[in-house]
Point group: C2
Chain length 215, copies 2
Amino acid sequence: MTEAQRRSPRDRYRAQVRAEIKQHAWEQIATQGVPALSLNAIAKQLGMSGPALYRYFANRDELITALIRDAYRGFADTVRAAFDAGADLAGLAHAIRDWARADPQRYFLIYGTPVPGYHAPEDITAIADEVMVVLLAASEAPVTGKPATPFDDRFANRRTRTDGSPVPGAVLRHAVSFWTRLHGVLSLELAGHFTGMEFDPELLLDAELHELGTS
Amino acid sequence: MTEAQRRSPRDRYRAQVRAEIKQHAWEQIATQGVPALSLNAIAKQLGMSGPALYRYFANRDELITALIRDAYRGFADTVRAAFDAGADLAGLAHAIRDWARADPQRYFLIYGTPVPGYHAPEDITAIADEVMVVLLAASEAPVTGKPATPFDDRFANRRTRTDGSPVPGAVLRHAVSFWTRLHGVLSLELAGHFTGMEFDPELLLDAELHELGTS
DNA sequence: AGATCCGGTTAGAAGCTATCACCTTCCTTA
DNA sequence: TAAGGAAGGTGATAGCTTCTAACCGGATCT
């Protein structure tokens, strides 16, 4: 909305068409995956013919990059919103899981198979950093007062908190551990690797996070 | 080798051409990813023109399925070999990590972004089951004598050991936990999501498995 | 030796990305 | 207000892809 109302009518129209293109792209991705995404098909769905779409996105890669950016943005907003609402790490995990399950291919656009040679533009890596900041902030509380493990020292790095103080190794380790455990369960669940086994993935996730909290 | 030496010369020729096709396919996948895999390009590299390749694989999907099968087979053999050599779970983890790092796209062919609507043929899911059997066997030792956690009961299922006895919930939970923690660290590492952070992914993996062992 | 099967060929349909040249319509500027 | 440029849309086209169809020659089997 904020993007659509500023500047000239032409700009608003342009923004809306771009949004419609992305909307149809998401539908194709959700049902058929990224490799099957066809600019031609999207153009026809919008009632315009082929090359017109290149007025809005320079090429297929640029459209996909825009989708990745939007996915990251939505992901970061979800994490941020849950944190601001007072959620702890378990709360964040469930918010992220709900977001991912709503559109698995959107999650895999961020954390799925990487394309060899592709490097995300800097504004996207900046969003990834936003998420890390929240994860680190949410990891402060559960770590305080715990004795340091032999591994923690190796995780001290140059990252600083918002006030400029360095992030302790234990906090970084806790945040990364949360991240990898969540992704480990979630990605295998979304990819269907648990089908046939009879346990509830949510229960497994809870167990993994429970152990993280009591370690 | 065993596939190439049996039956008639024609069969041997056929098996070898199929192997050469897959060889070139792997090279394309490793450097450009699955979506860029081109049957036409492979045919030209082999000195034959386009459609000839369809004598060996009915279509693109069948070739990719064959690659997935080979990847799973290699993965299962790696796990099995490490276990038979006496490796514990940590040893299995490092064997798997080495195997995955040797060709990340091969790992992602198994555990990467799923294609909506694709279901692996039964012989492939059977290989996946082989891996699970080894993981369960390797999880027997570290679990024995540990007090049951509140989560363990929910993981009891109909799976049986080779001698027919049921797998305890604690063992299944341990095996799945190992699997998800390893995959969580490994897939994010291979996808490059740790670049910029200054810790060693191997150290993170060790920490995760260390906690698993002491929980 | 004759029939069959198998692996290769070229031609071609249908689809894709992407570029080009052209046309119209809107918006801005003198 | 008239002129001119910018933006959006078009069809044509190049070049790539998967995959089918028709055909041909040689190896294999009966």
